[in-house]
């Protein structure tokens, strides 16, 4: 790890001004990803602003009937919170499908969104990587790309976003509250993470020195019909090859609304509302689910070692929707 200076912030405003007034400064809370990356010499902040003392640690109902998760609530406390378990079980399940009990106790909700990719080349400083060192090239396109993207990638980067939580948040259409030198704003989760394009070094649309303060869940939690399905290379403690957050609102056998978000397949949690809309008003059936799965994977493009993900994603969507609808037909 490189040398850095360290300060503790007492409120959001000071945290933002602290980070703005230092060169190459970063916020640190759970630290489970940032310290990991600093030890590998991948991220090299010269100053850390400790935000763990900020008053952003509660989960509360919002006026609109939704729920606000403060950014510093741990992943474990979120997953096991009675209101989350009851009203947003999809989120609970997604969080518990990720990482380990130890990591979830430490990692925060804000930090979870800001996790960086698990691309092998991003993680190895002796190799070329546009995300780590812009302009050097992408080693994954011609290298080992098992955990890489099949959707929305660019010639500059084929990395995926590793979070499970964010996939559920995408399906739930959460909003991210942020605060920065220019004040506060909220960003819909769909616009929070980016596709790599020609700037793969940027994972999110956070502006410089902005801090995530909370995640707001809208009222609709799809607590009756939901599934988080995660496919991975071992039974636990592994990042997703393909994951699906599926949520349905049903009226009898008729689908009122469907939400589907994919993890492990793109630089951001992958949603395709126009494909979801295909299910609106349709009966629950494997055939309809297959149609939507096909629509989701339209234009998908794999590489030497991850071609299989396209079919896996297709089948996973169908399975997740079947499970969410609680049907085996």
């Amino acid at each position: 790890m490189r040398s850095f200076s360290y300060t503790r912030a007492q409120d959001v405003k000071k945290a933002v001004s602290e980070v703005s007034s230092h060169e190459d400064a970063k916020f640190i809370a759970g630290g489970t990803n940032l310290l990991d990356l600093m030890k590998y010499d991948i991220m090299k902040p010269r100053h850390l602003v400790d935000i763990t003392r900020l008053e952003m640690k509660s989960i509360e109902e919002t006026e609109g009937g939704g729920l606000r998760l403060d950014a510093l609530v741990s992943n474990a406390d979120t997953a096991y919170h009675p209101l989350v378990e009851e009203r947003y079980p999809l989120l609970s399940h997604a969080i518990l499908a990720g990482a380990t009990a130890q990591l979830r106790n430490k990692a925060t909700d804000g930090g979870n969104l800001l996790q960086r990719t698990r691309c092998y080349y991003f993680y190895d400083t002796t190799t070329l990587c546009n995300k780590r060192e812009p302009g050097t090239g992408c080693s994954a396109i011609t290298g080992y790309n098992r955990n890489h993207a099949i959707l929305g990638h660019s010639q500059h980067c084929i990395a995926t976003h590793p979070s499970d939580m964010a996939v559920a948040l995408a399906a739930l259409e959460a909003t991210i509250q942020v605060s920065g030198p220019e004040g506060e704003r909220s960003i819909p989760i769909a616009d929070f993470h980016r596709l790599p394009g020609d700037k793969p070094e940027k994972d999110t649309n956070l502006a410089e020195n902005e801090i995530v303060t909370a995640i707001e869940l809208p009222k609709k939690g799809f607590a009756r019909h939901y599934t988080y399905l995660k496919n991975r290379d071992r039974a636990s403690f592994a990042f997703a090859l393909v994951s699906v957050a599926a949520a349905l609102e049903l009226d009898g056998d008729t689908i009122q609304e469907a939400r589907i978000a994919l993890g492990g397949v793109a630089h951001k949690p992958w949603r395709k509302p126009e494909a979801e809309a295909l299910l609106q008003g349709k009966e629950v059936s494997r055939e309809h689910f297959q149609q939507v799965a096909d629509a989701y994977l339209e234009g998908a493009e794999g590489f030497q070692y991850n071609e299989f993900k396209i079919e896996l994603a297709r089948r996973s969507i169908v399975r997740a929707l079947m499970q969410a609808a609680k049907t085996d037909q």
């Binding site: 010499d41 092998y120 896996l312």
Partner: protein, 740 residues
């Protein structure tokens, strides 16, 4: 209290230390004024170091030195001085020897600083420039240059017998297939570390992670020209090794070099990434041509192996002997060739060669069984071998049939439907597969020392190791049992180069070799006790031999007259003997042993559930039946087998060190991306030890269990996956993309 401990399920004698955090491993010893070293590794696979600029690092307060090939001390120049007890044929790697880069992640510099964090930071400030040369790390493309090594590191493939080619062509059933096994790394939980204590008078005490302290000592004497008295190596606890500690790794060289130069104590602990920078289980391609009669009798086996090695050492393991150990066949041809790559030399990993060879063999035999329309277990019974065909000798013992019987019964094999895809539960296809395995039961020369004190305390020692295998415990049991003392009065010391010589802990030979020495040295003490009682003029014992005596409950008595018992401690006190001492060298009975094929055997039965659409595989049940000779401690023995099964699961479904040929570098070099099994991967495992008596393998009749537990697991899983899905996956690991 009873003092017959052999065969009883004793708790580990080192358990208390391990559950309280008091067991100290190589990187944990507290020595005064310790400094810390961090190794810098090359980022290219082949070429030359043009320059190393350490100036920025050296400007940092607290950085003591940056060692490179340019400023290293004068070292042994003859490459053989770098060889160790486990070096394969070739020229051993010499760290910091010159500017040449021979493999990616080659150690090229050492930064030494006052704290570990500072050394880490300083390492980022060292700039290295290279002159890159094209590297060859692509196994597939180099296959064309495969060669037969001049000298085999392990057993040379036996000469062919019969007419394998002709018989294959004539056979009613023919199987011709290729099986692929990837590179895998040991990844013990403890990363390799050495703490070198500079004693101030030129002597050093080294705490090293090693499977035999003597090997580190020998290596340091060779490289640094130290006398035996100048270097003592200790390794009382080893946080797993599985072969990674058979050879001294480069942290030992680095820490010792720095300590000798700086005249300070130095610790070097490798990082998890660096755990991918030295030996690994080699990648192999195995080609099988198997011919059988329509009834499923084997008529011909041709087994060719191609395995990777480095360009400077010819590493080879026993991959191809197994068809000749496990099956009866009159026409057999076995060959083993090497593919030299720009990488570090592979290294023995738990059951080296056996795991690899038996995987391919047992998958291939399952295929032949199906071609013959035979139940896989019936097929194996039909081709059962009563002779070790590698040496054309009978087996000293082989209770494999009993493994089949008990294993199949426990598993419920009789309820199996032969047809693939014939069993299912909802989305999941259920498959039952089996495989058999064997491992060598070797004994090597070993020494031990025993001191019995008048207070009844017995101290036994030998320079062996306990890498989690239970050496401390079983040696304590053997010693206590032999002299009839309570376990708590017996202590066993190991992991110290100043103790009587013992072989490296490997090859499942420690229980056999060191156990025999411990038993023998305690028998020496028995003789001395008998002398004492005779000297006293005790007429009961006059003219008796030790064989006629019983040692139990702290007493010595005549077997046929228990009332003659005398207390051992009283006997010593009466004779004014403060202590009795003995040291012994236990040699295997080589001439007798040569007449026999000596192996442990296993039969593994596996149930898998494979999601039909998603391909995800769960190993839901494993029954492992083992014929491993005498079981010294059923508790620790069972753990050994459980561990082997978990390794088999990892090997079958997860473990894969990915060589990126663009860089000539293993690219998934961490535990997040190199998957080893986690708790959730492991479900029901049953271990059965069948009774097996063997007086040939060694005086205690134990065959060793470190490796027999793993060898037949991966093929049993692969065969179960076939049974579930109808898909033959011939390339490990079996991941969901191959079954969906």
């Amino acid at each position: 209290m009873a003092t017959d401990f052999i065969g009883k399920p004793s708790k580990r004698v080192d358990g208390l230390k391990k559950v309280t955090g008091q067991a100290r491993y190589a990187g944990e010893f507290e020595v005064p004024e310790l400094t810390h070293g961090v190794v810098i590794n090359s980022s290219i696979a082949r070429g030359k170091i043009k320059s190393i600029d350490s100036s920025k690092a050296l400007q940092l307060e607290g950085v003591l030195q940056v060692f490179t090939h340019e400023n290293r001390p004068k070292l042994a120049w003859f490459d053989k001085s770098y060889s160790d007890m486990d070096s394969p044929p070739g020229s051993p790697f010499r760290p910091l020897y010159n500017e040449k880069v021979q493999f990616n992640m080659q150690p090229i510099a050492l930064v030494v600083a006052e704290t570990p964090e500072l050394a880490q930071y300083a390492a980022t400030q060292v700039k290295v420039e290279y002159e890159t040369e094209p590297h060859e790390t692509n196994f597939d493309s180099q296959l064309k240059s495969a060669y037969v090594p001049e000298e085999f590191n392990s057993t040379p493939p036996p000469e062919p017998w019969g007419e394998s080619e002709e018989q294959f062509k004539k056979a009613a059933i023919q199987l011709k297939e290729e099986y692929f096994h990837p590179s895998q790394h040991h990844n013990p939980m403890e990363m390799h570390a050495s703490t070198v204590h500079w004693e101030g008078d030129g002597r050093i005490t080294v705490y090293d992670k090693i499977q035999g302290a003597l090997n580190s000592q020998k290596y340091l004497m060779g490289v640094f020209g130290l006398a035996k008295e100048e270097v003592r190596v200790l390794s009382p606890f080893v946080g797993g090794a599985f072969g990674s500690g058979l050879r001294p790794q480069y942290q030992l060289f680095m820490a010792t070099m720095a300590a000798l130069e700086l005249k300070r104590s130095v610790r070097v602990m490798l990082s998890r990434t660096q755990m991918f920078s030295f030996g690994h289980r080699p990648k192999t391609l195995q080609r099988f041509s198997i011919g059988a009669s329509a009834e499923g009798k084997l008529q011909s086996i041709i087994h060719e192996t191609y395995a990777e090695t480095s360009k400077f050492e010819d590493f080879q393991e026993d991959v191809v002997i197994w068809p000749a150990v496990l099956y009866k066949c009159d026409n057999v041809k076995l060959s083993h060739q090497l593919v030299g790559l720009d990488e570090y030399t592979p290294l023995d990993v738990r059951a080296p060669g056996g795991t690899t060879g038996i995987f391919a063999l047992e998958c291939a035999m399952d295929e032949v069984a199906y071609k013959a329309g035979l139940d896989p277990l019936e097929f194996r019974k039909k081709n059962y071998s009563e002779m070790d065909q590698t040496k054309k000798v009978p087996f000293s013992s082989k209770e494999l049939m009993e493994c089949y019987r008990q294993g199949a019964e426990k598993f419920g094999w009789q309820n199996r439907k032969q047809e693939p895809r014939s069993m299912r539960e909802g989305h999941q296809l259920v498959g039952w597969g089996m495989a058999q395995g064997a491992w060598e039961a070797n004994q090597k020369p070993a020494n031990a020392k025993a001191i019995l004190s008048v207070d009844g305390k017995l101290k036994v020692s030998s320079a062996t190791a306990d890498i989690g295998t239970g050496t401390y415990t079983i040696m304590t049991q053997i010693a206590a049992d032999t002299l009839g003392l309570p376990l708590e009065d017996v202590s066993f010391k190991l992991g110290d180069s100043s103790l009587p010589e013992a072989p490296l802990e490997g090859g499942s030979a420690t229980a056999s070799s060191v156990g025999s020495a411990v038993k023998a040295v305690c028998q020496k003490i028995q003789e001395q006790l008998l002398e004492l009682v005779k000297k006293q003029g005790n007429t009961d014992f006059a003219g008796k031999e030790v064989e006629e005596l019983d040692f139990k409950d702290g007493q010595m008595s005549l077997k046929d007259q228990p009332a003659t018992a005398v207390s051992i401690t009283e006997l010593m006190a009466q004779n004014k003997e403060d202590q009795l001492q003995a040291e012994i060298s236990a040699e295997p009975a080589k001439e007798e042993q040569k007449k026999w094929g000596r192996y442990s055997h296993s039969a593994t039965f596996v149930e898998v559930k494979v999601d039909e659409e998603l391909g995800t595989i769960k190993v839901t049940r494993v029954v492992s039946a083992i014929a491993g000779g005498r079981i010294l401690n059923p508790k620790t023995a069972r753990s050994q087998i459980l561990g082997g099964v978990v390794w088999g699961i990892g090997m079958a479904m997860e473990e894969y060190s990915v060589m990126d040929n663009q860089y000539g570098r293993f690219i998934n070099h961490n535990l997040a991306e190199y998957h080893v099994p986690v708790n959730a991967d492991v479900q029901e495992i049953d271990v059965i030890f069948v009774e097996e008596k063997d007086d040939v393998v060694n005086p205690i009749g134990a065959k060793g269990l470190g490796e027999i537990g793993i060898v037949s697991v991966a093929p049993a899983i692969a065969n179960a996956v076939f049974h579930a899905t109808g898909k033959r996956v011939r390339a490990l690991p079996i991941t969901l993309d191959k079954t969906m």
